[in-house]
């Protein structure tokens, strides 16, 4: 299982990752909704957004850049919500989307706890769009496009377990530099993308008030009763039916 480690402290905000994403995936540029800068946001054509964050500190402001994209959950809610299985968690790590079978219901967008998927509202045959973690590259042993172009090693690609180890080692080596938290280790059951940072995650646009349980697991606690309840009802109703039938026959027999 592959993953990517994002070290917020190492990013200089060059935006190479966002450009590489556009180039490799053939995505359009839209000046009105940029992928880099103060107004950067995820869009159907922005699978990666590099946000500019100025954070107040005691010693003055600090400038940080935060790359946002699909986190590629270990147990993705989008895949769980999709009733045609257009989303799939691959064994290589990426959560990929199959536009050929998508019916456009957009349950995935409601289900995603990180609000990542975007919809092509203005297309004739609209698709759901999000980072595919460069599945073809990863399958061939290459890094995702964004990681391959990062000049400062703010992004590193590898086996998720090794990256998790690396993240913890970096935090342990410089405990004064980093917040002691690997974002993505446990969030919603864990994600293939991991983040470490020197500024609190809630200040750079990450939700930290989240469950450690994956969404599919959480909903599974309820939905796992579907079969027993259905079977039970069937049994009860069948029993009632047989009972009333026999009683009716008995009454007729008088």
């Amino acid at each position: 299982m592959n993953g990517v480690l994002v070290d917020i402290t190492r990013c200089v905000g060059c935006g190479s990752c966002a450009v590489a994403c556009k180039l490799y995936n053939g995505l359009n540029w839209d000046v009105a909704s940029p992928a880099i800068g103060e107004k950067a946001a995820l869009k159907a054509h922005n699978w990666t957004a590099v946000e500019t964050r100025r954070i107040g500190r005691d010693e003055g402001k600090v400038l940080r850049f935060v790359k946002k994209q699909c986190l590629h959950c270990l147990e993705p809610a989008c895949a769980s919500a999709c009733f045609v299985s257009a989303f799939k968690k691959t064994r290589e790590g990426p959560v990929v989307y199959n536009e050929r079978i998508c019916v456009g219901c957009r349950y995935c967008m409601l289900a995603c706890p990180f609000s990542i998927p975007r919809y092509e509202w203005d297309a004739v045959y609209p698709r759901v769009r999000k980072c595919q973690m460069c599945f073809f590259r990863v399958r061939e042993g290459e890094m995702p496009a964004c990681v391959s172009v990062c000049p400062t090693q703010a992004l590193s690609f590898g086996k998720r377990e090794e990256l998790l180890h690396e993240a913890k080692a970096r935090i342990a080596a410089e405990p004064n530099r980093y917040i002691n938290h690997v974002y993505g280790e446990h969030e919603y059951g864990g994600t293939s993308w991991l983040y470490i940072s020197d500024v609190p995650f809630e200040e750079i646009g990450f939700r930290t008030d989240v469950s450690k349980e994956s969404i599919p697991h959480w909903t599974g606690r309820v939905t796992k009763w579907t079969l027993p309840v259905a079977a039970g009802w069937t049994a009860i109703l069948t029993a009632l039916y047989l009972y009333t039938k026999r009683r009716a026959e008995a009454e007729e027999g008088h």
């Binding site: 556009k22 180039l23 940080r64 299985s85 199959n98 050929r100 496009a145």
Partner: protein
């Protein structure tokens, strides 16, 4: 209607079931058609990436990514749509200028950039370029209430022609003046005039430093005309700022004088003057916006007056001319307007690496000895040419041997700076130019060769030295308009008024980054 109804077939139960089964089969087949495709088949990857990135994850790449650019930079803008991630901007920033990678991460609160624009020269797709200020200048030119003065840097006159198909280094000083008049500038003046003035002030300061008359101002003295170099020093060597000459750059000296001396002489309201400069440089845009560059405003008690209102690069001037349909090559040669339009050979060579040093040595020799410098000082070959760090020694009667050094490109500058920091600097005076080749290789110059080559640089430099050799005056102190300026306005070099208008202070930017001396793995 009745006949039609008669012919209608009655739907039997069997036919209905057959139809439903057929539709179901068709539906199944269609669904299977979609389902049988692997989910991966539409998982992005419809574009391309440059070859250097298409390697297994563990392989090293030649170069990765690009330089960071602050979207609010006064100097450089980037059109992301044109970027192909070739990495050439990063290489020049890291290897030629030793900026990117020479600081520890994380960032503090700004994108570290010395505004030199070398990245814009190296960019093969034109994604990187100067911030376009031509609209500001068009508006000023159209405003009849404004008196628009323009100054032209030493280096633009040997490069502007390249934008119009002339060979590299073609001398177009007179044509440039004619072109600016045709654009509608009210006064066409010369930065070379204040280049001479810079030499008067800087040579005086040097002599005072040598004599120990300036406490807290050690030797060697550093030149201060290259704003990208000044910012580099403020970032990486703030401890050496006392070495920096307090002289403003020629552009800013001009700006301060245009709205004081020139305004008074011409009897123009300084608030109505719009001061434009044509520069080979993107860092000049930054320099003109430095908050302290409003000394003409302070002179008049109106701090909102800026010394220089707009800075255009050579490329932007060419663009304006082309917008107006002016063909530079067909224009006559014209002369600069009087008062601030005359120059000497010493000012002309400012545009080449070593030029400031050579001009300063000529005038300092005269100031110290009272005699004209010997012929070898008018052709100071040790500081000419394109080697990265050049050294020279000049014997000056009464002082002894004056040792000088010249460097261009900040990676070369670093070698000199490290020597100074370690106290191993035998020099009295060091010239620093941020751009390779000096101003003629500035980030705002025509993209005659991409990436820029030494061949083009050498031809532009040769053109400057040719002009110097033929010029009527060779030494800055011979400029009659400079002498008049001191006589009628400033009194003498480093007078109280000269200090106010022509000298400046620097700020340490050492807290804006965590500087390091060697390159961190970047790119």
């Amino acid at each position: 209607m009745d006949g039609f109804l008669e012919h209608e077939k009655e739907m039997t139960r069997r036919a209905f079931l057959k139809m439903m089964a057929g539709l179901g089969l068709a539906g199944l087949a269609a669904t299977a058609g979609g389902c049988l495709h692997h989910a991966e088949l539409s998982a992005g990857g419809e574009g391309w990436l440059p070859y250097q990135y298409n390697v297994p994850g563990t392989w090293p790449a030649q170069v990765r990514g690009r330089v960071p650019i602050d979207p609010s930079s006064p100097s450089i803008v980037r059109d992301d749509r044109k970027c192909i991630l070739c990495g050439q901007c990063l290489e020049v920033c890291r290897d030629t200028q030793s900026v990117l990678g020479y600081y520890d991460l994380p960032l503090v609160d700004e994108v570290v950039c010395i505004n030199c624009g070398q990245c814009a020269l190296a960019c093969p797709t034109g994604a990187l370029s100067e911030r376009d200020d031509t609209e500001k200048v068009w508006q000023a030119l159209e405003d009849l209430n404004r008196f628009v003065v323009v100054q032209t840097a030493p280096a633009t006159r040997v490069a502007l022609g390249e934008e119009f198909g002339l060979p590299p280094g073609t001398w177009v000083a007179g044509k440039q003046v004619a072109a600016l008049r045709r654009l509608g500038f009210d006064a066409v003046l010369d930065t070379n005039f204040t280049a001479d003035l810079t030499i008067m002030e800087e040579a005086t300061e040097l002599i005072k430093r040598v004599k120990g008359e300036l406490p807290g101002k050690p030797l060697p003295q550093f030149t201060s005309c290259s704003p990208a170099w000044v910012k580099f020093c403020e970032y990486y060597y703030p401890d050496l700022l006392p070495h920096m000459s307090s002289c403003k750059s020629p552009q800013q000296m001009f700006g301060a004088l245009a709205k004081t001396y020139y305004a008074k002489k011409k009897n123009i309201d300084p608030e109505k003057i719009f001061s434009v400069s044509i520069m080979p440089c993107t860092a000049k845009k930054f320099e003109a916006q430095r908050p302290e560059m409003n000394d003409s405003g302070l002179y008049w008690g109106k701090p909102s007056i800026r010394d220089v209102d707009a800075v255009l690069t050579t490329r932007e001037l060419a663009k304006m001319l082309k917008q107006k349909g002016i063909d530079l090559t067909g224009l006559p040669e014209e002369d600069y307007d009087p008062l601030m339009g005359k120059c000497t050979g010493g000012a002309i060579i400012f545009g080449a690496t070593g030029g400031v040093m050579e001009a300063a040595v000529r005038t300092a020799y005269f100031f110290i000895t009272g005699n004209e410098p010997p012929p070898n000082l008018l052709n100071l070959t040790p500081v000419r040419g394109l080697s990265g760090v050049k050294e020279g020694a000049v014997d000056v009667p009464g002082v002894g041997t004056v040792r000088v050094a010249v460097c261009h490109g900040m990676a070369n500058g670093r070698q000199v700076l490290e020597a100074v920091r370690r106290g191993r600097a035998p020099w009295h005076f060091v010239e620093f130019m941020a751009c390779p080749g000096g101003c003629i290789g500035g980030g705002g110059q025509p993209r005659t060769a991409v990436p820029p080559t030494d061949e083009v640089r050498a031809r532009r430099i040769a053109s400057l030295y040719d002009a110097d050799a033929k010029w009527v005056w060779r030494e800055s102190h011979e400029n009659p308009e400079i002498l008049a300026l001191y006589q009628e306005f400033l009194e003498h070099p480093m007078s109280e008024l000269a200090e106010k208008l022509l000298h400046t202070e620097y700020v340490s930017r050492g807290h804006q980054l965590r500087a390091r001396k060697t390159v961190e793995a970047v790119g």
